[in-house]
Every structure is written in structure tokens, then in C-alpha cells.
Symmetry: C2
Subunit: 186 residues, 2 copies
DNA sequence: TTAAAAGTAGACAGATCGGTCTACCCCTGA
DNA sequence: TCAGGGGTAGACCGATCTGTCTACTTTTAA
């Protein structure tokens, strides 16, 4: 693994736990065991590092989630796989993601205002909405798929929030049963 | 209004928009037009100010939400009032709350780790869950009320997340219809 | 009236921040 | 062999942060 990747992963871990503005460059460097000049040869600034961290997490999360949902044949099975995956995530049974600390993008988004970072965080959520709608449109009409996708991602976000700030480790199961009950069985 | 309250309100506005760690004491003071010594005569530290801000927002939000839900007779009407209120909030029709910027407690919670602030934010969410369950237990059995309350607050959190990061101004209407569909009509 | 309480303005201290820079080291490939 | 790319260690700079302090003014209440 390159020094660049080590920096990104260490920065992600610290940002995810403590927030972006609470973590200093020197803390990332000492944790990663990397010199300051190396960081600034790969990234122009702390903000550029943050953007790379966001892209890294976005890729990781989408690969994981869409991987789960792709290995299903029907739309309801894809939705079930999504919430089964969330349940695994909330209860730290997913190695590829870090120990559950809520949604990274929600956290980071909350620390910025009218900023490029906000757009990047929104884009992550939009990508998941789009994919979900695409999967649902294989089985349902376009209008139905759009409506159902909004409902499903709303349940997904609610489950993440309840699991994290609500301390509810079963939120994914609850949301999953609610989601499946929404899907018409033709 | 006392200087103390002016400080709390100004700090809330800035923390809510930009995050806690992005906002300095001097910014709060110049915005409020208050001297630094006055701040430190009312609060021992920035963190003490933050705790007062959290308590202020907690009181404001609960008074607003429970006020809406108390002026209803049936449990389904209380749930409907909750999501009608959320819709007003998301679309900036509530003067007592500030212009919608997501959930303050979710934002603040994300900036701290294993910290007293996390407990305060959790307590706010727990209070809303408890009240919701209490209202539902007037009509439904204890088990049913507990289950329904978890579902309702999950939908509420999902709606807030979708309205903010998902840019979906209709999230409250969607979540409200989903919530009402869950309530058995005996 | 007058003394205490509460407020203002802002200099200041000490720490920490992001970012630059020097000096040195180690490995690799032409 | 040796030049150069990539790395380390960390001093250093200017800015900014929280919090303290002095000196002065305004408000308040006995």
C-alpha cells in the first residue's frame, strides 16, 4: 500500500471518529508514522486530503453495498440484502467498513456550510438513491420505482441515525421489515 | 433578554450553521456584540457554553414538537401532527426554530467522541422517543406502542436526513404517510 | 447618592493550527 | 557509480484559538 493510501486510511479513521475539525494534521501524521513533507507532496492541503478521504469512503461504501445488492435476482431480494448489510454494519460484522460510527458523510457534511464538501457528500447519497431506483425499476414502473426508492433510502437513513445516536442495534432489522412491507408483490 | 441568552442564541445560530469546532469564541462575541469578559462571567468555557446551547435547543424543540402533538386527541392525530410539523420545519414555516439546517443534535454529536456532549444529544432523542411511546400507549398496548414508537422516530430521523443531505423538501410528507399507514385502526 | 454589580474594549499569554523549509537518508535504475 | 526520486525528522513561520487580565464605563439597587 502506498503512503498516499496509508494517509487516506488513517485520516478517514480519525475523521470518522472525532470529526474533521477536531483532528489536526500532526495527529494524522504521528498516527500513520509518516512525515509531514510526504503528506504535502501528495496533497495540496488538509482540505485536499479530506476530499480524497471522501472519495475513498464513497468508493468503499458503494462497492460494498452494491456488491451485496447485485448478487440478488429480484428487486425485493436486493432491498432485503441492503438492510441485511446494514444490520451487519451496525453490529460490526463488516471488515471492509470500519467499526460503526454512524454515516461518515452525514458527519462531515454537518461540519461545513455552502462548501464543495457538501456537494460531495450529497453526491454520495444521490448515487445510492439512483442505484436503488434503478434496481427497483427492473420490477416496478418508473413512477413506482421512484417513489419506492425514496421510501427505502429514507428508511436506510433513519436506520443509520437510530443505530448511531439512538443506540438501537436492531434498527436495520426494523427498517428492513418496514421496507419489504412497502414492496407490492404482483 | 439577558446577555446570557443573547450569547446562547448567537452561539446556536453559528454552531448550527457551521459546526462547533469551525466557530471561534471571538466570532460569537463580535456577532453578538458582547465583550469577552461577559461571556466568561456566564460560562466557564466554550464547552460550558455549548452545553447551555444544547439545553436551549432541546427545550425549544421539545416545547415546539410536544406542543403540536399535545393539541391532538387521538394517537394517530398526534403522529400526523408530528410529521406536519416536520414538513413546516423543513420548509421554514416555523419561526421558533431557525431556518432548517438538519438536526442540530446529529451535527453536534458527530463532532465529539466518548464525550459528555454525546450523552446530551442522545438524551434529546431518547426524550422524543419516550414521549412518542407515551402518546401511542394511550391507544395501543405497551408492546405495540414501543414497536410503533421505534418505527415512528426512525421515520422522523430518516425524513430529517433526507430533507437535509438528500435535498428532499417533501421528505416529511412521505415519512408521514408511511407512519400513518403503520398505525392499526381498531 | 453612591457603592456594588455588570458590562465594554481589547491587549496579552500560551498553546495549537496548517503549511513551508532545510538537512539528511535510502533505494533504485540507467 | 551515482543522480534523482521519495522518504524521514523536525525546526520554523504566521495565523488563530481559548482563556485571562487591566482599565474604564454603565447600570442598578439600597
Amino acid at each position: 500500500m502506498t503512503k498516499r493510501d496509508e494517509l487516506i486510511q488513517t485520516a478517514f479513521k480519525l475523521f470518522y471518529m472525532n470529526g474533521v475539525h477536531s483532528v489536526g494534521i500532526n495527529q494524522i501524521l504521528s498516527e500513520a508514522g509518516i512525515a509531514k513533507k510526504t503528506l504535502y507532496s501528495h496533497f495540496a492541503s488538509k482540505e485536499a486530503l479530506l476530499e480524497a478521504v471522501i472519495a475513498y469512503r464513497d468508493e468503499r461504501f458503494q462497492t460494498w453495498l452494491f456488491g451485496l445488492m447485485n448478487s440478488t435476482s429480484s428487486a425485493p431480494a436486493a432491498i432485503a440484502a441492503m438492510f441485511q448489510g446494514l444490520d451487519d454494519w451496525f453490529n460490526d460484522r463488516v471488515e471492509t467498513l470500519m467499526p460503526f460510527q454512524g454515516c461518515f458523510f452525514v458527519k462531515v457534511n454537518g461540519e461545513f456550510f455552502q462548501h464543495r464538501v457538501n456537494e460531495l457528500c450529497h453526491a454520495h447519497k444521490q448515487a445510492i438513491l439512483d442505484y436503488t431506483q434503478m434496481r427497483l425499476s427492473e420490477t416496478y414502473s418508473a413512477e413506482q420505482a421512484a417513489q419506492l426508492a425514496n421510501q427505502v433510502v429514507l428508511l436506510k437513513e433513519g436506520a443509520i441515525a437510530q443505530a448511531y445516536l439512538g443506540h438501537d442495534h436492531h434498527a436495520a432489522k426494523l427498517a428492513g421489515s418496514m421496507a419489504l412491507a412497502l414492496l407490492p408483490t404482483p
